[in-house]
Point group: C2
């Protein structure tokens, strides 16, 4: 692993950030530094170049954990540690090929959904039953899909807040099980995607108690092709070859770094992100950029002449993609200390910029919240509702009673790349992650410095 050269902005630290500066002045200085000279771009460049894809339980995920430990030490963390946990089953992609055999010979761009079982090695050939919306599949009678490949081609809407993904998520997560229950021998869905590139979007599926059948996502142009062929009326026959396999028990790990508070070290502000990624791309946007942002934000705070009052803890979770497993393991292992957690936040919807702050706190009149909102306003961030629940890995902390803040990231183009081979460094914008890093640095600093109580009613 190549030595990493962190930037040395602290040498340039202006006199403003002295012990005499007010918290608001320090926050403004953090914004300025995050937007012009944080380590976020260098970190995401290194993670995606020197490690690359890092699927849950894989050797590359372990290499990413070693990378993160080393970086945390270099950036001056007071303590860095790794907590290992078990996954019942690892999963590895195999060959994935599909083609229309009739009425026209057309290759299809497909990718297996995470957890999919395999076809026979030589593939399977069957006629499709195509549903242009998911409700059509759910309305199909039991047994009606026998010997068929069920296909759902409902599109996902493009929305800034990512709600299009959540609105159509069941097509991927539950579609294979629903098709299986109706007798289908395989399942294809239009990718949960807002792009029109020939790159299918993977993601975990969940068979629950249904018989596992081979399940894959089609790229958007391929879903449209099947719609056109089906509309012509002749039977559409497809050959599908998928050879993923279960790996049995594997381990993953959470990597945690702590930056001790100067007055109340036992009170902890938590920033999260997930270190694992899908295997197709390099996990630049999902969630390498989140990793880079929280690491760079912590470093900016670390460089202040005086640490804030409270401790800042950065947790890089493992095994998010197969179902938030690192987040669950962390919450379980740290159950007894959750009452000391002041606030938790995690970026896991791309690079931003942040456009809104939502809270999930007991008292929205807490004065430090107003200070945080005021410090974020120059970044174009407005105040939203108090219904934040904790996204991704930190969901279990929020459920465990930890107050949460959601810094909502602009996700307008996130689902053009999400879970595809296209999730690579060249999609990252220094300006966008500069703004997002600024927001996280300000949030972490003020929550740690101002001593607000977000649990008090």
């Amino acid at each position: 692993m190549k030595p990493f050269l962190f930037s040395a902005v602290s040498l340039l630290l202006p006199a403003l950030c002295s012990a005499q500066s007010t918290p608001a002045e320090v926050a403004a200085e953090l914004v300025s530094r995050a937007r012009t000279g944080s380590d976020a771009m260098a970190l995401i460049g290194s993670l995606t170049t020197d490690v690359g894809p890092r699927q849950a339980g894989s050797e590359n995920e372990k290499r990413a954990a070693a990378w993160a430990q080393q970086r945390f030490k270099e950036l001056g963390a007071d303590r860095v540690w790794v907590e290992t946990f078990s996954l019942t089953n690892g999963w590895a992609r195999g060959i994935e090929r599909a083609e229309v055999l009739s009425p026209a010979l057309q290759p299809l761009a497909v990718t297996a959904l995470g957890g999919s079982t395999a076809t026979p090695p030589e593939g399977l050939v069957a006629e499709i039953a195509l549903f242009t919306n998911y409700d059509g599949l759910l309305a199909a009678p039991a047994g009606s899909l026998a010997k068929k490949i069920a296909v759902v081609t409902q599109p996902m809407p493009r929305r800034r807040d990512g709600s299009g993904y959540h609105a159509t998520g069941k097509i991927r997560s539950s579609g294979p099980a629903e098709a299986s229950r109706r007798g289908a021998i395989a399942y294809l869905c239009r990718s949960l995607a807002t792009d029109n590139h020939r790159l299918p979007h993977t993601g975990q599926t969940d068979y629950r108690d249904a018989t596992r059948i081979p399940a894959a996502a089609l790229s958007v142009p391929d879903a449209l092709l099947l719609e056109r062929l089906a509309a012509e009326g002749a039977p559409v026959r497809i050959k599908l070859v998928l050879t993923p396999h279960d790996l049995g028990p594997v381990t993953s790990q959470n990597v945690t770094a702590e930056f001790k508070g100067r007055e109340r070290p036992e009170e902890i502000v938590v920033l999260g992100a997930h270190l694992d990624s899908w295997d197709l791309g390099t996990g630049a946007l999902d969630d390498g950029v989140g990793v880079a942002i929280v690491m760079a934000a912590a470093k900016l705070v670390r460089e202040l002449p005086h640490p804030p009052r409270r401790t800042i803890r950065v947790v890089l979770f493992g095994a998010e993609e197969p179902g938030l497993l690192g987040g669950a393991a962390y919450a379980q292992a740290h159950h007894s200390e959750l009452s000391h957690y002041v606030l938790v936040a995690e970026p896991d919807e791309g690079q931003g910029p942040v456009y809104r702050l939502r809270t999930g706190v007991a008292n929205t009149n807490e004065p430090s919240l107003k200070a945080i909102v005021a410090a974020l306003a120059p970044l174009g961030i407005s105040l939203g509702d108090n219904h934040a629940l904790g996204d991704s890995d930190v969901r279990y902390l929020a459920r465990g009673g930890v107050p949460t803040v959601a810094l909502d990231l602009d996700g307008t183009d996130y689902f053009d790349f999400h879970h595809t081979a296209d999730d690579t460094l060249d999609k990252i914008s220094p300006e966008r992650i500069g703004q997002t890093t600024a927001a996280y640095a300000v949030l972490a600093y003020l929550a740690a410095e101002l001593g607000g109580d977000y649990r008090a009613p």
Copy 2:
């Protein structure tokens, strides 16, 4: 093959297009109809859906030829025929996989260049020698690339006139041979591409007298990744698996349709396009859209109450992609009649719109040219130089002395999709091909109706 329903705009033909209309009035009416109701969208939809990819010499190319014959008959051609010709060698893609083994484990998105030879079935592993520009490769001494995989990562500039492609074309066409001459055991180049998607761009290469070595294109993000890894200084080792193979002698075909002139049927205006495509996408932009435009333009002229004076011939060439083979075969077979060809034009750079008319004629003062320029002006088309040489398939006709017109297509985004799996129907804009169809209909009609002589000095 599904029955094709051509639109019935002729029923709606306004009184304007009567025998009393002037050619300029008829041209204006053709523009109006092309922009609102031509068959171009339906034709490109059918070709890409009902046939799909159609590689030179393949069964799908033959199916495309049958499709074209049928369509030409339905749209009222006076004569439709097929001329078969031989290719020394067909070529078929096989498995294509590559990955960086060290310093990081990173899969690479690659696709074999047309004509590439195979690696051993288990692949080859070697260190790379990376050149960020092609001149660097050319400057490498003989033998200096022994046991190496040569990699060239020079980018292609985005330009409206497509000149970026021509400026960097040698990286693909001659790069493998140049690498081979310097001892390299394989060759990778950054795709000739203006996009940043994880879809490599294929295209023909030409080894000439050099030893054939496995040769593939990298997607742009993968070329950037190799640049970053190489810049870190440690040796970069790659595993490459390519299993394309030569097919030996195959046949292709040109499909021609003729719409007889009412007064001088032996004088022929030729519109060309190529029916074959690369295998990765469905050849929507390259050159299905050209096929659709010239077919739809011919139908618009055919629907006029009176055919124009001269004959319009539409030639859909086979086997353009491996090296303009259909165009060469056509020019050879029709050598004796080339003196009767009035003018030739071909769209083969995407969907347009047309922004400029260039000529390759003996007399730029020919009055009918001024009429053509005037009729195209409302479409936003300006007059360029007289250096048009005949692009693609019609190059051999131009070399044989046939006057030529280039209706230059806006190629700003063409090389985002060119020769990739992404060359699919959803990239086609009805507005853009409406304008392009209008330009071709006007050109064909006026060249056939006005009787201009483009050969006279």
